[in-house]
Symmetry: D2
Subunit: 370 residues, 4 copies
Amino acid sequence: MPLARDLEHEPASSDRLQAMSAVPLSPERRFASDNNAGVHPRVMEAIAAANHGHATAYGDDRWTRDAEQTFRDLFGRDIATFMVWGGTGANVMALATMLSPAGAVVCTDAAHINVDETGAPERVLGAKLIDVPHRDGRLQPEQLRDFAHFTGVMHHVQPSVLSITQSTEWGTLYSAEEIASLCDTAHSMGMKVHLDGARIANATSALGGTVDSLRSFTVDAGVDVISFGGAKNGMMHGEAVVYLDPELARSAPYVRKQVTQLPSKVRYISAQFVALLADGLWLENAAHANRMATLLYDKVAAIPGVHLPQAPAVNSLYPVLPADRIDVLRDWSFFYDWDVHHHQVRWMTSWDTTESDIESFAAGVAHFLG
Amino acid sequence: MPLARDLEHEPASSDRLQAMSAVPLSPERRFASDNNAGVHPRVMEAIAAANHGHATAYGDDRWTRDAEQTFRDLFGRDIATFMVWGGTGANVMALATMLSPAGAVVCTDAAHINVDETGAPERVLGAKLIDVPHRDGRLQPEQLRDFAHFTGVMHHVQPSVLSITQSTEWGTLYSAEEIASLCDTAHSMGMKVHLDGARIANATSALGGTVDSLRSFTVDAGVDVISFGGAKNGMMHGEAVVYLDPELARSAPYVRKQVTQLPSKVRYISAQFVALLADGLWLENAAHANRMATLLYDKVAAIPGVHLPQAPAVNSLYPVLPADRIDVLRDWSFFYDWDVHHHQVRWMTSWDTTESDIESFAAGVAHFLG
Amino acid sequence: MPLARDLEHEPASSDRLQAMSAVPLSPERRFASDNNAGVHPRVMEAIAAANHGHATAYGDDRWTRDAEQTFRDLFGRDIATFMVWGGTGANVMALATMLSPAGAVVCTDAAHINVDETGAPERVLGAKLIDVPHRDGRLQPEQLRDFAHFTGVMHHVQPSVLSITQSTEWGTLYSAEEIASLCDTAHSMGMKVHLDGARIANATSALGGTVDSLRSFTVDAGVDVISFGGAKNGMMHGEAVVYLDPELARSAPYVRKQVTQLPSKVRYISAQFVALLADGLWLENAAHANRMATLLYDKVAAIPGVHLPQAPAVNSLYPVLPADRIDVLRDWSFFYDWDVHHHQVRWMTSWDTTESDIESFAAGVAHFLG
Amino acid sequence: MPLARDLEHEPASSDRLQAMSAVPLSPERRFASDNNAGVHPRVMEAIAAANHGHATAYGDDRWTRDAEQTFRDLFGRDIATFMVWGGTGANVMALATMLSPAGAVVCTDAAHINVDETGAPERVLGAKLIDVPHRDGRLQPEQLRDFAHFTGVMHHVQPSVLSITQSTEWGTLYSAEEIASLCDTAHSMGMKVHLDGARIANATSALGGTVDSLRSFTVDAGVDVISFGGAKNGMMHGEAVVYLDPELARSAPYVRKQVTQLPSKVRYISAQFVALLADGLWLENAAHANRMATLLYDKVAAIPGVHLPQAPAVNSLYPVLPADRIDVLRDWSFFYDWDVHHHQVRWMTSWDTTESDIESFAAGVAHFLG
C-alpha cells in the first residue's frame, strides 16, 4: 500500500484571499481532475437525441447494439462489451468474471483498485490484491514471476489476474511491447490480464493516436479484459467492460447485475459511447488534454519552488511544492494532494482545459510560490 | 423464493404479424416498465443547465448541496442523503450500513432484493435474506415476530433489518398505519427498517399526493432508511439513499464507494433530483402514471380472457391471460412475464404514457385475445 | 425460512424438582443430540495410536493417505477426499467449490445450511440459498424445475447447486431412486448436486446397512459431492468433503484453507475416519442409534400427551407435547425445541444410548406428562 | 506481500540417499514445524478424561466453563473467551468482530494473515489488509501513522484494526513497551489491536516466563483481542479467541458460527486448554522448545555454509544455505523453505524436540553441507 492522496473539497471561503492584494484571477476551469470537467457538447447532443420514446431497459435497445458494434469495429474483433455505471464498478465486474477460485489479483501498490476504491475489490470479490511496488506507476514482468512459487501451494492465494493501468496512476505509459511482455508472462503462469483503462484514450493518443495504436497495446498485446473509460474523457457517466476474450464474458451478464453495475436506462450510456467513439471524438478530447498538460508543464516547470523533473506523458503533472504554499494555492484553485508525505500534488488537464486556464493557473502558481 | 418473472427482449421480427390482417397499430409507448420511458423534458433541461464548467467530483458541488437541502426540506428533518447510481445499488448500500454483525434482512419472497437483483445483497452484504410469504406483496408484523426466537441464538442469523417496498412489487400499498406498526414491531425486536422506494412517488401520489402523505408513511411511521427512486419517475439515472436516522449514515460515505455506488460526476444526478423534487414534478409524474393505469384497467378489464380482479393502486396491472395468447400479444407490443407458472404478466404505465397509447394497447389486447 | 428450533443450555438448577416427590432418575445419557455423545472407544484408541512422533501437518501424512484410500474403497471409485474441521465448514467448502459465478444453491427451507449455520453459506460464499418448502424434510424434482426459467435471465441468480440432506433434518430418508431423480433433474438443468451427509451413516444403515446401500444413493445416484459426517457418529471432531466428481476438487485444496477449514494436525482426524470406516464401526454405531430410536418410539408413543404419528426412520423423534409440560420435562433431562410455534421438540438417540437410558427417559415422560 | 515460503510434503523416497555412504541417521523428530509434533501426554490424558457421558455441544459444558475461568485467571480480568477450531479461523473470527464498516486491517507483509492463510481474511471479512514492510518481523508505530490521513477520506479504506504477531513470523519478539506503544498509536487513531498469538507461549517464556510476563505485553499493554494458540504447543486441535475488551465480544457467538469456527464437541478442546494452562504446562512446553532452538543454533551456526547471524529469540531459526544443498538436506529430514528467492529455510523446534534429535540433525547438516 502506498501512502496516498486525499482531501476532496470545494475551495474554502475566500476570506484569506481578500486580505491579499494583487491576487490573480483563478482559472475558470480547475486542474483538480479530468472528472471535474463537464460533458462534451457532442456527447450531450447524443444524449438528447436518445431521449425519444420507450426503449427496453438493461441493454436490449438499438443504442446499445450500436455501441457494441462500435466497440467491435474499434478492436476489429468479435468481442463482448458491457456498459456499466462507473470506473470502480467496471474494475470490480471485470475482475469478478476473471478470477479463479482462491485466486488473487496482482497489481502495483499505486493501482486505483488498490488505493482509491475503498476496498471495493476485496469486499465484492472476496479476493486478495497482491500489490507490488510500482516503478513510475508501472509493473515489471519479473515482479509477477516473483509469485510463481505461490502457484499450487495451498497456503497461498493463487495468482490469477494481472491488473495494470494504462495510462498509469502516475501519468506514465507502458509501451505496447511492455504490455505484450507482461501478458506473455501472466499467461505463461496461467493468469489473465485486466487493463484498467480509465484513461485509455489519453494513452492511445500519446502512443500514436490511431485505432492501431489502441490495438497495439490491447488486443494485439494479449490483454484479456479492459475497463474502458468514458467519464474522464467527456462523457457524463458510464464505462464499458470490454472482453477481448469473449470466453471470459460468459458469466458477465449475471455478474454485472450482482455487483450492482447494470444500468437500467442503458441507452443513455450507449449513446454517449457511440458519440465519443464513432468519429474520433475520444481521441480529439484526449489529444487536447494531453497537449494542455504539456503546455502547463512548459509554463510552470521553471517557476521556483515547483519541482517537476519530467514533462507529462499524458494529462497530469505531479509537482512537489513547498509544504507551506500548498494550501494557499489550493484555496485559490482546488487540486488534490498526491503524496502527502512528500508534499507532492497532482495537476490534471481535461478535454475542456483552455490555454487561458493555463495562463491563469501558471500566474497563480508564480504568485503564491513567489 | 417466489416463482418469478423474466424474459427481456425487444419485439421479435414482425414477420408473423405481417401475415395477419387488420392488426391494430401498436402503441407508441409500451407497457413493459416505467424504466422503458425516457427522461422528462424538465429533468433534461436541468441536466443541460448543470453542464457548465468544472465541479468537484464525488459530491462536493453546489447541485449536490442543493439536492441534499431539497431532501431535508421534503422530510422536514436534518437527514443525510447520498446519491447513488441505481436501485439495486441503493438497496445494497442502505442495507450494508444498517446490518449488525451476523445480521439478516427480513423481506417478502416477492421483494426486489430477493428476486430481481441476482443475489447482489447476498454477495455484497454476505448476509442472509429471510424471505417470508407475501400477501398481496405485503409483509405483516406477525411474520416478523415469528423470527423473534432467533434473537440471541448463536446457530441462527440475527434479524437485523426489515426491508419493505412501497409501493410493493405487486403494485399494492401499505397504509401509513401498517408501516408504523411494522416499524414498531421491528424496533421492539432491535431491528432497523429499510424502505425500498423505487416507486415511492407513485405510493405518495396514491396515498394523498402531498409532502405530508410522504412523511406519514416514512419519517412519521418510523422508517430509518429509504432507497428513494428517481429513474422510474422521469430521471435518466440516479437514486438517493436517504437516512432519516442520520446516526446510521456514519459509515455511509465509505460504504457507498466500497459497494461501487459513488458516482463521479454527481452533479448530473443531483440536478435531476432538484428538478424532480423542487416544485412537485415527482408527484405530477407519478399521479399521471397512476391515472393512466386506472384508465388502462378500465379499458381492458372487461375484455374476455383478461383476468384482472382488482383495479390498480398505483401504476401496474398483473393480468392473467390465456397461455397461448401471451407471446403473440408480446410480439406485437413488448411486456414482461410476471408469474410464468400462472400465465400472469405485468403491464405498467409511466410518466409519459398517453391516452392514445392506452387506446391502441387495449385495441390490441382485444384483437389478439378475441 | 422455516420457524426454527433453538434453546441450548444445561439443565437449570434442580430446585423445582426437589419439591416434587417420586421424580424418576433422569437417564445417564440424554436425548438432546447425537453430538452430545462422546467418542467411541475404538476411535479414541485410534487417536492415541496416532499420537506418535512427528507428522507433516496439513495432510501429507500416512494416516491421511490411509483415510483417503479408505474413502476410495468405500465408494469404489477414484474420488478425492478432504478432511475438514466441522459440518458447517464441510458444507461451506463443498459449495464454494461447486458454485458457478452468480450461482445459487437450491435447498429446502429446513436445510441445516439454511437455518442452523448462522448464515455461514451466505457470508462465505456470497451466494443466495433458494429455499423451497420441504415435504417431510425432502425436496422434490418439480421444485427444482420451478426455477428453470431463472437460467439465462440476468436479473435472477442462476440455479447452480442442489443441496439435499440424507438423512434429512426431519429424520426422514430419500430413497436411492428419489435421489437419482433429483440428480437427473439437477444435471439436466446444468446444476451440480451436494449431499449434506452429517448423518449419512444413519441413512445408510436404514437403507440396507451395506456399502452397496451407501453407493446406491450417492455415487450410483449421481451425487457430485458429499459432506461426510463423523462427529455425530462417534468421532471427536472432523468431517470429510468427498468429491465423487474429482473434477470439482481442483480448487479444493486452496478453498479449504481459504474458508478456514484446513486442520493443521490432520492425522488425528484421518485416524478417526480409518477407525470408523475400515471395519464397519460407522454402520454399527448408526444401526445402534437407529434401533434405540425405534425402541424409544415404542416406549413413548402411547403415553398420553405425546403426539408422535410416525415411527422413526433413523435416530430422531419429533413429538408434539403439551405446551406447559415441555420446560419441566426439559429441566429434568435436556433436549431441544424443534418448532417453537407448534410445541414440537426433538429427541435424538446416539451410538451410546442404552436401553436403560430409554427406560429412564420414558418413565420421566410418563411422569411429567401424567 | 513478501516473497514467501512453501513446499509441503513428506520426504521423497530415499533412493538417492542409499547411494551415499556414511549418511547419518536422520533425527526421530524433524525440525519442519511445531505443528508436526504430536499431543503432549498430559493433554492426551485430559482428552481421555473428558470422554465420559454426554455434554451439551457448542460450549455449554463444564469443561468449557472451566477453560473460560482458567483464561480469566490467567489474565486477571473478566474477559470473554471463545474456543475455535484453528489458527486461521481464530484470526478471521477475531478480525470479523473487530472491524468497523469499510475498515481495513494493518499488518506486516510477513503476517500469517497476509501470506499464509490463502486469502481467508479477504474472503471471509471482505476487507483489505494494508500490509506494511516488516522489520525483523515487526511493525513500528510510525508505519501506522503513515495511514492516518486515510481516516475520513471516502476513497480509502478506513484503518480499523492493527494486527501484530507475537512471537512474530520471523521468530522475533516485541517488547511489552513496543506493544504498548503500538496500542497507544492505534487507539489514538480509533483502531483496535489484535494479537496473533499462535506462539504466544513461546513469547511469554522468552519474555520472563510468568503470568505477569504474559500480561505485560497483552492486557497491560492495551491489546484488545488475542488469538491464543494451542495446537503448536502440545494440543491436538483448538485455539481460543480471547476478548480482553469484552465489549468487542458481543457479536462473537454468532460470528464464530458464521465463519465456520464453532466446534460441536467443544469439551475436547476446552479440556486440553485446562490441562495446558492450569498448572503451567504451556510455559514448560514453550520454554523447552525455545531452549532446544538455542541448542540447535549452538550446534549448527558455525558449520560452513550455514548463514545464521542471530541466535533465536524463540523456537525457530532461519538459516540461509547453499542453494544446491537445500534439497538433499530436506530429502534427508524435511523442513520448509522460508524465502525461496534467498535460499533461506526455516528450522523449528517443538515441545518434544530432544537433544538427541539436535545432535542427529546437526550431524546431517555438517554432512550434507560439507
